[in-house]
């Protein structure tokens, strides 16, 4: 059986997998990191989004063996060791950016990539378009967008119109 060695949330793992094993299966079933969810399993809903080399990807649409040598971050890898939440997690809590919570790990991971790739800041429209790959079946998008705008301010050390209006 093929072996894959990858770094997940700072720890290096060598795991035996079938060639057809998906990254999300490796994460959930081999490493027991069940914060990464499987929603649609057809690359549409985004509940399985993780970061690989800093980019958000859908872990249900990549083979584990394709991740040889990769640096993967999951939702479990965001908070500090002392439990301090990542600014995006903190903003999701503050702005109540979740209802059932199933899509939340993927939303948070996509949102962080979105904010990181827009150092000059984001408009509300850009946030909404940037979430194209993540579905919330509770349709709780409004507060998700507010949370991301607020987190972007914290991550970039400034305040946006949208966050001020929400206060």
């Amino acid at each position: 059986m093929p072996q894959v060695t990858l770094t997940v949330n700072g720890s290096t793992h060598t795991v035996e997998v079938e060639a057809r094993t998906l990254l999300v299966e490796l994460l959930r079933e081999k490493l027991r990191l069940t914060g990464t969810h499987v929603g649609c399993d057809t690359s549409q809903c985004g509940a399985c989004v993780v970061h690989m080399g800093g980019d958000s990807i859908k872990s249900c649409t990549i083979l584990a063996v394709q991740c040889e040598g990769a640096d993967v971050t999951t939702i479990e890898g965001l908070a500090a060791a002392d439990g301090t939440l990542h600014p995006m997690q903190e903003a999701f809590r503050e702005y109540h950016a979740l209802q059932c919570g199933f899509c939340t790990p993927g939303m948070v991971m996509s949102a962080i990539d979105l904010v990181n790739k827009h150092p000059a800041g984001l408009t509300e429209q850009e946030i909404r378009e940037g979430l194209e790959g993540n579905l919330c079946r509770c349709t709780g998008y409004h507060n998700i967008v507010k949370a991301i705008a607020a987190a972007a301010d914290v991550m970039h050390g400034k305040r946006s119109e949208l966050a001020r209006a929400a206060e």
Binding site: A19, S56, T61, V65
Partner: protein, 265 residues
């Protein structure tokens, strides 16, 4: 997914050897089309040949009057490329509209071109810009490369290694996305460049990407929105399905052509 073997060659020659030796082997780059197909068991390859370890297939460079894109260059990298944004902004914008962020972070130009999905974006750009597709063994013009729906001039085991795109005088793109899948219902790429004035359409044709001679003639005579507004396409060559009739797609082509000319830069 059915079981398969996995190979990760580090050179084009090794990849071609693996793919030529076994007709059931499939190359994978970003996997944004292949993996969903495998998960649905629509495809049963004996082995998957991962191209991602072949460094020479990556990157964008300007080579005189053309842009050369390595086959493994991701949509995200094309959308973000300073060279492409400066030389062919319509192509960079096109790349930014493909799928969603996560698809753009994995999917590659070479993979999309080799797959020739009728709703894929790039085939229309390459046809309109007069691009050429470089493989491990030859160079093929876009006119000869795209031979129909999901069909290309590639031989068994032949790999796309790079795409060469002449820098146009101006070019524009517009598409109507299916509101659910985000695939193109009709997309039109217009270009004025070394290959002349060309108009190519994705998403709408019953046999994949195609050019519209009447629009090309109209734009060559008078590059303006009004010039294409009067060109109506016959519905007989269009794809009709649950998402839209052939008549609707024929109508969309004219609307998208007008928008493409309007936003050409």
């Amino acid at each position: 997914m059915y079981e398969f073997a996995y190979h990760k060659p580090s050179s084009v020659a090794d990849a071609v050897k693996l793919l030529s030796a076994d007709p059931e082997a499939r190359p994978i780059s970003g996997g944004m089309t292949l993996l969903p197909a495998l998960k649905l068991r629509l495809n049963k390859p004996s082995s998957v040949v991962d191209l991602s370890g072949i460094a020479e297939l990556k990157g964008v460079r300007r080579d005189g009057a053309k842009i050369v894109v390595g086959a493994l260059t991701r949509h995200y990298d094309i959308a973000a490329s300073a060279e492409i944004k400066a030389a062919i902004p319509a192509l960079a914008w096109m790349a930014s509209t493909i799928g969603d962020t996560q698809v753009r972070n994995r999917g590659t130009m070479g993979g999309s071109v080799a797959n020739n999905d009728p709703s894929a974006d790039y085939p229309a750009a390459l046809l309109a810009l007069g691009g050429t597709i470089q493989t491990d063994r030859r160079t093929i013009s876009a006119d000869d490369f795209f031979t129909g729906m999901f069909s290309t001039a590639l031989e068994m085991g032949e790999l796309v290694t790079a795409i060469h795109i002449p820098v146009p005088e101006k070019a524009g793109y517009a598409k109507m996305k299916n509101p659910a899948s985000r695939y193109s219902m009709a997309g039109v790429f217009v270009a004025k460049g070394p290959a002349g004035v060309r108009v190519a359409v994705n998403g709408a044709g019953a046999n994949g990407v195609f050019r519209v001679a009447q629009m090309e003639a109209a734009l060559a005579a008078n590059w303006s929105v009004d010039a294409v507004a009067g060109v109506k396409l016959d519905a007989s060559g269009m794809n009709g399905d649950i998402h839209g009739s052939a008549e609707y797609r024929a109508h969309l082509v004219t609307v998208m052509a007008k928008r493409a000319v309007a936003n050409a830069g």
